[in-house]
């Protein structure tokens, strides 16, 4: 049953990026309606719609807007178009085919939050996309949708595109704010929250592209329609991405709550695996959220959900809540990448570890040193010189980084810890098979070559495993 394409309705339509095409299909009607309402009414409406952020954190947008101090003089709106989470491309598809939907959303959100200036922070790698967006912004200005006295409402809004330059951490809210201010993108400590003291010291709202693109539809189609889509806590429509060796990689729209199996196998979405292979693993929410076991594993006989057993987990529903039952960090960007049964899981581990080691900003100790250490361990395992204790070490290091909130300033180390830990835990058997197939003393030889003292120190005499007592994962297991 094909779901209605709401956000993606103009994808595939000829000349879809032009204002004329957008207006012909009813574009900017939502903005016109919004400008008739009072900003406070708009905020209430969005709160009722329970529009949760589509950028990865899932924070309700209306609640975020209501944190702005009522007596503020200046407000900024930052559009987070820094889509760097592998393998997400839904924002790109939206901006590539329908930039005006985003701009209408910016206008609505700007009006609701009484924004003076909106900055669209686009990552530097969106090279062609920048030109498309800039043309759209110019068209919008020419038609009077930005600038002064928009649609005669008396509301002024300036909209500028700010190009980033290649940093994943600038997708983090305060990292984006710092980057916008012309500094290195080091996330700030919170409090103070961006709603109170954000970019240039003023109240700021940071919203994702897709979140804003939902706004015109909530206004034109109405609250009841929006609330009819999705599951209990996750309302509305979502753009799902699927990539990897599936028959139809791409971006598809469906209400929240689609199951992973459907996303991969349904002919309307992924269309099944290429060459009929089975799925070894899938990262359903972008690599930061963690991994699910695929159908190379048997299904649970009683249908129960137990992440500690080697069962097929593809029945996971992709909304904000069900994913947690499968030991995932969250829904994330709902962008799935599928690992086929013939891929080496060690390559996947190295790729994921490398991403976070390269993109860590370097502020917090655990993230800076931990991601780099995990990458080095993953590389050594890939090179055929791993040890069984390395797998335990990886799990422990991730426990020090992400198991408990508050250990770091931003969420990157949590996003680094989850995939690495779930990969090692859920595919432990395969890792151990690879380790068993290594040359017998490959690890010892490589380690001795790198660090002679590692084995010669008398402190190691008689000990095969390094001590783990008193570590965070150990405490977590003991329930303390």
């Amino acid at each position: 049953m094909p779901y209605e394409r709401v956000l993606m309705r103009n994808v595939g339509v000829p000349n879809s990026t032009s204002l004329a095409t957008y207006q012909a299909s009813g574009g900017y009607a939502g903005a016109a309606r919004a400008l008739q309402m009072k900003p406070e009414e708009l905020v209430e409406l969005v709160k009722k719609a329970n529009l949760r952020g589509r950028g990865g954190a899932g924070f309700p947008a209306g609640v975020k807007w209501s944190f702005l101090p009522p007596d503020r003089k200046v407000t900024y709106l930052c559009v987070n178009a820094d889509e760097s989470e592998p393998p997400t491309f839904s924002n790109r598809v939206l901006m590539e085919h329908d930039p005006h939907m985003l701009l209408e959303g910016v206008l609505i959100a700007g009006y609701a939050t009484r924004t003076n200036v909106a900055y669209i922070y686009m990552r530097g790698e969106f090279t062609e996309l920048f030109h498309i967006m800039q043309r759209a912004v110019d068209e919008a200005y020419a038609a009077g949708y930005f600038g002064r006295n928009i649609l005669g409402s008396g509301y002024d809004l300036e909209c500028y595109i700010h190009r980033g330059a290649g940093a994943y951490v600038c997708g983090e809210e305060t990292g984006l704010i710092e980057s916008l201010e012309g500094k290195r993108g080091w996330p700030r400590i919170k409090p103070p929250f961006p709603a109170v003291q954000g970019v240039f010291g003023q109240p700021t709202v940071v919203n994702n592209v897709e979140t804003l693109a939902c706004l015109p539809h909530i206004l034109t189609r109405g609250l009841d329609w929006w609330l009819s889509l999705g599951t209990e806590n996750s309302k509305g429509t979502k753009m799902y991405c699927i990539s990897g060796p599936v028959n139809r990689p791409g971006c598809y729209e469906a209400p929240l709550g689609l199951s992973c199996r459907e996303l991969i196998y349904s002919p309307e979405f992924g269309g099944g695996m290429r060459d009929g292979k089975k799925v070894k693993a899938v990262f359903p929410g972008g690599i930061s959220m963690g991994v699910l076991r695929g159908d190379v594993f048997p299904r649970a006989a009683d249908g129960s959900v137990d992440p500690s057993r080697d069962y097929d987990e593809l029945d996971c529903r992709l909304d904000f809540d069900d994913v947690r039952r499968y030991d995932l960090l969250g829904l994330g960007t709902a962008a799935a990448v599928v690992v086929p049964e013939d891929a080496d899981i060690r390559d996947v581990l190295v790729n994921v570890a490398r991403f976070f080691a390269e993109e860590s900003c370097g502020q917090c100790t655990q993230c800076r040193e931990g991601t780099s250490w995990m990458y080095k361990i993953a590389r050594r395992i890939r090179a055929g010189a791993g040890r069984p204790e390395d797998l335990d070490l990886l799990v422990e290091v991730t426990g020090n980084m992400g198991m408990m909130p508050g250990l770091s300033i931003c969420g990157l180390p949590d996003g680094a810890a989850w995939p690495i830990r779930t990969l090692v835990q859920k595919f432990r058997a395969e890792f151990e098979r690879h380790l068993a197939a290594q040359e017998p003393d490959a690890a010892a030889r490589l380690i001795r070559q790198t660090n002679p003292a590692a084995w010669e120190l008398p402190i190691w005499a008689g000990r095969r495993r390094p001590p783990t007592a008193g570590t965070m994962p150990e405490l977590h297991r003991a329930g303390r």
Partner: protein, 537 residues
């Protein structure tokens, strides 16, 4: 004063500070790198994490929250309960310290900071006993970032204290973080080295041995040093310092925390400008011109000789032709004693406020640190003593003019300046003085005119007190024994005056201050700044 509970003990603390600062002040040992009370809070080192009791978001029941909070970022609130001594906190500390050591070169045997290194201390107290790092370490280079400072980047823990210091306190922003992630380093823009006038403070701030002072590099192991409380004579601000010394002499000068004067900072001028006390050409024996012969004289003979000679000249005119030039490098006690000696023999003697060296104008940095233009520590103290003594007084220029006119027959001239201060016109003006006693650190043009030349002791070799430009009286202690052949000025003036009634023959600054306080109440209770909490750094 809010009351909070730390580790089950109630602590009363100041309002408006962070929990970390409150815990440190109450004596707790909490590991921290990036936090410094004088700099902005970044909460990036993640070592000071604590557990806090909070109401449950749904039930409202107060219990230990299942997350850790950075203590440096959390302000104290009356009634809050936190703990640092819990398994979770200890596990987090141990893990974080393990991370710091992953890429650390572990060159304690050749690192200057050993003995006062926070990484050593915290690893020992909070860290893991073994390392599990068997990968290749990432090696950062060593850099020469300024005329006085080296940066051994491989030891750096990226606490960014130095970066924030240069930005906020010095206002110049030379140091920055470059690169990203585990490749991040501290660096300066090539060609714009770390050269502001406060840059020596980054070496103190650095908790590990990454930033090093070229002056102190490989000089001395810190456990062979003892620290003495002193006051810097470099300028009139009265910055309090620690003199790190041992039997071999002074090795290093560091700032001593002083909430009313220099907080935690010290100008480079004060930090490195004490080397003049080590010069080869320091005077080291008293000399007397007797019968045309310039011969040495013993210290114990000097007081008699001076009393006799000054007394003889003063009898004729009650001392109208006698003058004592009190240098603003002298301590208040010494000035007071010398003034008593001279006025005792010659009631009409003129007291002169000595030469005040001034260079440039007062310079204010960043958040308010000031380097004063007046390069002497005790002008106000001297002025106070002179004002209190009353009678004939003169400024130094007036004195030189008057001496040139031949008004003075006996002059006791005290110097003690780090640089040459006697010019040709001084020499010319004082040429006619019959009895010229020069009490100075180094020789000068006056050597051929002086009747008596007495070697002075440097500030590190004396004890006393200085009054700073704002009138604050601060005591300083003796760090090292005076140079061989030199006697401390205080001791000498004490003997000149004949000691104090009821006291023995040794000069003790505190006793002299107590005697001064009878007439000059400012000296009753000199200001001694509080020490930093034991585990703050």
């Amino acid at each position: 004063m809010p009351k909070i509970i730390i580790d089950g003990r109630e602590v009363e603390c100041r309002a408006g500070i962070s929990v970390l600062q409150a815990a440190l002040e109450a004596g707790w040992d909490i590991p921290h790198y990036c936090y410094h009370p004088g700099l902005s809070v970044v909460a990036s080192c993640r070592l000071c994490l604590m557990e806090m009791k909070m109401p449950h978001p749904q039930t409202g029941e107060v219990g230990w929250a299942p997350k850790l909070f950075p203590a440096c970022q959390t302000p104290v609130k009356d009634g809050m309960e936190v703990r640092f001594d819990s398994p979770r906190v200890r596990a987090s500390q141990a893990a974080t310290l393990e991370y710091y050591l992953l890429n650390h070169p572990l060159d304690c045997p050749v690192c200057d900071k050993a003995g006062e290194c926070c990484l050593q201390d915290y690893s020992e107290r909070f860290g893991r006993p073994t390392s599990r790092m068997v990968e290749e370490k990432h090696k950062n280079p060593k850099k020469d970032i300024g005329p006085h400072t080296l940066l051994y980047q491989d030891r750096c823990v990226l606490c960014t204290r130095c970066v924030r210091f240069c930005d906020e306190i010095a206002g110049t922003g030379e140091l920055r973080v470059v690169n990203r992630g585990s490749r991040a380093e501290i660096d300066v823009f090539p060609g714009l080295p770390l050269a502001n006038e406060l840059q020596g403070n980054v070496v103190d701030l650095c908790p590990v041995g990454a930033l090093l002072s070229k002056d102190f590099l490989f000089r001395q192991r810190v456990w062979f040093l003892r620290s003495v409380r002193s006051v810097s004579p470099a300028d009139s601000s009265g910055a309090t310092i620690w003199i790190d010394c041992n039997s071999q002499g002074v090795h290093r000068v560091r700032p001593r925390f002083n909430p009313r004067v220099n907080q935690w900072w010290l100008s480079d001028e004060a930090r490195f400008g004490w080397k003049y006390i080590l010069r080869d050409d320091r005077l080291n024996e008293p000399r007397l011109r007797r019968g045309g012969v310039w011969e040495p004289i013993r210290w114990d003979e000097l007081p008699e000789v001076l009393r006799y000679r000054f007394g003889r000249i003063a009898t004729s005119d009650h001392g109208a032709g006698t003058a004592a030039v009190l240098s603003p490098m002298m301590s208040c006690e010494e000035a007071w004693l010398l003034a008593r000696f001279v006025r005792g023999l010659a009631p009409q003697a003129t007291l002169v406020r000595g030469y005040v060296p001034v260079r440039g104008t007062d310079k204010t940095f960043g958040t308010g640190f000031v380097i004063r233009a007046e390069k002497c520590p005790n002008r106000r103290g001297i002025e106070r003593i002179i004002a209190h003594s009353g009678g004939n007084t003169l400024e130094f220029d007036e004195f030189i003019a008057a001496a040139g006119e031949g008004r003075f027959k006996a002059v006791y001239l005290v110097g003690g300046y780090p640089e040459e201060w006697i010019a040709k016109e001084h020499h010319k003006a004082l040429a006619g003085v019959e009895l010229l006693v020069v009490h100075d650190l180094f020789g000068s043009l006056l050597d051929e005119l002086a009747t008596v030349r007495i070697p002075a002791a440097s500030f590190a070799e004396r004890e006393g007190c200085f009054m700073n430009c704002d009138g604050l009286v601060q005591p300083f202690e003796q760090a090292i024994e005076p140079l061989e052949g030199v006697r401390s000025d205080g001791q000498f003036f004490y003997e000149l005056v004949g000691g104090l009634p009821g006291a023995d023959g040794l000069f003790r600054a505190a006793a002299v201050r107590a005697a001064m306080a009878a007439e000059l109440p400012e000296f009753a209770e000199p200001y001694v700044p509080p020490d930093l909490p034991p585990h703050a750094h």
